[in-house]
């Protein structure tokens, strides 16, 4: 739980930006946040959102590391060039977005990177917000080896045919039967992407295939309610949701 460390505990983390072999062996950047000290830690592949590989995601990774998780957050837009995250994101957007296959490959490679680390326990979750939630679900459905997945308000999990595109050819809901790991979904009831109706459809599909999942839906919250740098931020719902995430990880990533 947040803010539950002992005042005499030696809580400390290390962070760095590395290059690792992503999908196709391409050397891409990743932000690494790891707990300091001896021991092996569960891993998290953190999938950044549509606005890019940004400072919010660095701080997101650091929070997870402070709670004992070894985190890799790949720069999924790395192949598009470098600049400020909003500039790179605009370039990606102008080209129709990053291809789902590219993201899935980079996430699979990030899983392999984590499992090769001597301080990783071998149990690895994948999680993301916004488009990162959608991508996390997609990767967990298509890549074997993850132990759990967290989808935070991923838009486009349910998509009509006209919403599919060359970069997003399949709606993740269509992979539901292939999902073999527990799913935690957190949503705001005022969100329009995903709307409550779309979350209902996703939940019905998970039930249909007997999947292990838990969904939590928050009143008074919309899209991106964790984003403390925006007016969407809802502190009470956010802190409750963080509690749900840590409990979920405790349940599924512990030895």
């Amino acid at each position: 739980m947040w803010n539950s460390f002992r005042t005499d505990a030696q809580v400390s983390i290390e962070t760095e930006i590395i290059r690792y072999p992503g999908g196709g062996g391409d050397q891409i950047h990743a932000y690494i946040a790891r707990p300091r000290g001896a021991g092996r830690h569960p891993g998290v592949v953190l999938v950044h959102h549509m606005p890019g590989w940004d400072e919010f995601y660095q701080e997101f990774a650091e929070r997870l590391a402070r709670h004992g998780y070894l985190v890799i957050c790949p720069d999924l837009y790395c192949r598009f060039g470098h600049g400020t995250s909003d500039d790179v994101t605009a370039k990606v957007r102008s080209q129709g977005g990053v291809h789902d296959d590219s993201v899935v490959a980079d996430c699979g490679a990030a899983l392999a990177w984590l499992k090769a680390q001597p301080d990783c326990s071998g149990k690895v979750a994948i999680m993301g917000t916004c488009s990162g939630g959608r991508h996390a679900l997609l990767a967990a459905s298509r890549v074997p080896g993850f132990a759990a997945v967290v989808d935070l308000w991923g838009g486009g999990v349910v998509a009509s045919p006209d919403q599919l595109s060359p970069a997003r050819p399949v709606a993740p809901i269509d992979y539901t039967k292939d999902l073999q790991v527990p799913l935690l979904g957190l949503f705001g009831n005022d969100d329009r992407s995903p709307s409550p109706d779309q979350v209902d459809l996703h939940e019905a599909e998970l039930r249909k295939y007997g999947k292990d999942y838990e969904f939590h839906r928050y009143d008074g919250a919309g899209h991106g309610f964790f984003y403390y740098h925006t007016p969407n931020y809802r502190p009470a719902q956010t802190m409750d949701a963080w509690g749900k995430i840590f409990a979920f990880f405790q349940k599924h990533l512990s030895d």
Binding site: G81, H82, T84, D87, A90, S94, Q95, P231
Partner: protein, 94 residues
Amino acid sequence: MCTMISNTVRMRGAAKGRPGWFGITQATVAFDHPVNGGLEHAVLLDFSNYALEPGARVAVELDLASARALVDKLTAALDAAEAGGFAPDAETWR
């Protein structure tokens, strides 16, 4: 992109941004999450030349009403220019 609403059109013109004045090659019009401002979604305009660098762009984020007002005024200016004979069809950006 979360909304998947994004369209790019090639064009010729110039914009002033981080590199100073530069020739633009395209514009992207999207409706998605803005970087700034208090909206969940906004109209995102980018005039860019990514052959130079990702930072070679001029970005504008607008609420829906402002974007519609801009479209009206843009159309009005084009109509007036053409009606006044100031914009012969053959004149393109050099």
